[in-house]
Symmetry: C2
Subunit: 345 residues, 2 copies
């Protein structure tokens, strides 16, 4: 195949930040081939009210009028069942759970899930999606590390599914075979999102490489292979969420504390098409980037009036830097030649 | 205990580099508390002849007349059984094996061991030590990663021990419980060296942290605990080799390809004493840093005429940088307060 019409793809996990970085990366959602972006709430301070979520949505929409933004809130004590009801009414789509301290701006994250059961019950009732950053925090002297932090979280996923059987849950950015298996073992209303970079990276690629360092970290070749198999399978339980997470290159250069996050937004569909092509599964690409996410999020008709996206087999070179020196971002696979570019028509 | 006389400690694995970096770090062997340094040959170009090894030794000796340097050669096709015999006569102490591509300046490393069996036989005969960087190269699409590269190498250690039963072999910089077990399973003439940094680091400490990134990478908490147990046990099979590996801070800041290596030379004994103290094993410190290494290398009397080293319980703050901005090195645990300092008397 040399070109594939993907309709109006949806990226169900993006970080668009604030301030100058927001201005830089928000237009790259469309550049990367996506019509809809589901935006994470880990701002500073975090988005914890429907009002702030809608205000943020307006800011983003002003920067990229052709892209549709879906907004979420950051699970925290301010969010009560009443806030959930109000949020649903106002069009907030979901709530994101960050375990305390596991990734960028997660200082105010969750340490115990039980206290939020009333919130989860309200979310179930009002049809909000629960987005899980599925990692247990690493703790000194324990045996939980970046390597098994996701696997250790998986029992919690199963428990939440059992406890709130109608709650739609996404295990975000799956990175292990164990996560794929856990999602498959849950009910139909539990899905997993998979990033572009975890479809190719393994642990070696981020050792000594801050650009490829993200949380959850990329794991073993067998894990990557399981993710490729899940993403390319066509199964409705898996869809694309880039978890594109821009950090200024000057911060990535901090050699003792590089921030976690890989920036894939600007060439998101290129990266994914490359993987599907290599796997001989281009037939299932549209399911992964368009159909499955839309169906799970019940947004089959959102942002479908504009031009459609086609991926075309045509060489593209990933730029070395997007934006200004020091404050710009280095995209994933910078400098590499890839085989697929996108066209809107 | 508030002070311990350690005699004349020996650091049986150091990288002292060339040029400006050599000038900067060579004097830190003594500053770090060591009388003898066993120096690695991965220079550019690598040290592959007895002449070059001795020339290098003279360069080092000129920079630090109070320190005794033991020199090695880099296993490569230039090294024949005849070269081994000549090296032994000239006072070269051992030969280091780098598997191709696993760490700094290992491009010319070994891909297959069989071709070197005649060399190993000659080393056995001439009593040279074989120093093994015990990792299998990570290979794309295989399941060998930085995480299991050492464990996958261990069968080779056992085979070499069986094939050359009198050859003294060091499995350098052990990083896993599996490595400790493998060394223990070999004959008495097989030992393991253990670094300072692997006695405290785990995978989380080098994720996003180029300063703590080295090869072999630090592994799991259970591995670190096994290393501490082995080092502090008093067993003659384990001794100190810092693998202190300086890189200019400007290179560590390269965010897509940070060089592997932790610099511990300047405060080596401080780091090790800290670990032994915490483990309640200060009684065995001298065995680890002085006696075991001397016995294995048959250098009981080398460099023992000068002042002795005492570690004293007295706060020391690790500096943030040693040497010039950009070209200097950031020491391990920079900026931290530790409890042990050293005195020569």
């Amino acid at each position: 195949m040399t070109s594939i019409n993907l309709g109006h793809p949806v990226d169900m996990h993006v970080h668009l930040r604030q301030g100058e970085m927001m201005k830089l990366v928000t237009p790259t959602v469309k550049q990367g081939g996506f019509s809809v972006a589901y935006v994470m709430p880990n701002l500073v301070p975090p988005v914890t009210s429907p009002e702030r979520a809608l205000e943020y949505k307006q800011e983003l929409q002003a920067l990229a009028p052709d892209t549709e933004f879906m907004v979420t809130m950051y699970l925290s004590p301010e969010i009560t069942p009443e806030v959930v009801a109000d949020a649903a009414k106002k069009g907030v789509s979901g709530i994101k759970v960050y375990p305390a301290g596991v990734t960028t701006n997660s200082d105010q994250g969750v340490s115990s899930y039980e206290q939020y059961y009333p919130v989860f019950r309200a979310m179930e009732e009002h049809n909000l999606v629960l987005n899980l950053h599925g990692e247990c925090p690493s703790t000194p002297q324990s045996d939980i590390t970046v390597l098994n932090a996701e696997e250790r979280f998986l029992p919690t996923l199963g428990e939440l599914n059992k406890m709130f059987p109608k709650l739609r849950i996404v295990l975000e950015h799956c990175t292990t075979k164990a996560a794929v298996d856990a999602v498959n073992a849950c009910d139909d209303n539990v899905s997993g999102s998979i990033t572009a970079h975890h479809l190719s990276l393994i642990i070696d690629n981020w050792s000594g490489n801050a650009i490829n360092f993200c949380k959850p970290v990329a794991k073993l070749p067998s894990d990557r292979d399981a993710l490729v198999a899940a993403a390319t399978s066509g199964s409705p339980k898996f869809f694309f969420g880039s978890d594109s997470a821009p950090h200024p290159i000057k911060n990535k250069r901090t050699c003792n504390n590089a921030p976690a996050g890989v920036f894939t937004q600007s060439h998101a569909l290129t990266y994914v098409a490359q993987v599907f092509d290599k796997a001989g599964k281009l037939d299932n690409l549209k399911k992964f980037v368009t159909d499955n996410g839309r169906k799970f999020y019940q947004i089959e008709n959102m942002a479908t009036s504009g031009p459609e996206v086609t991926v075309v087999r045509k060489e593209v070179v990933i730029p070395g830097l997007i934006g200004p020196e020091d404050d710009g971002v280095v995209p994933f696979r910078a400098g590499e030649k890839l085989d697929w570019t996108i066209e809107w028509n």
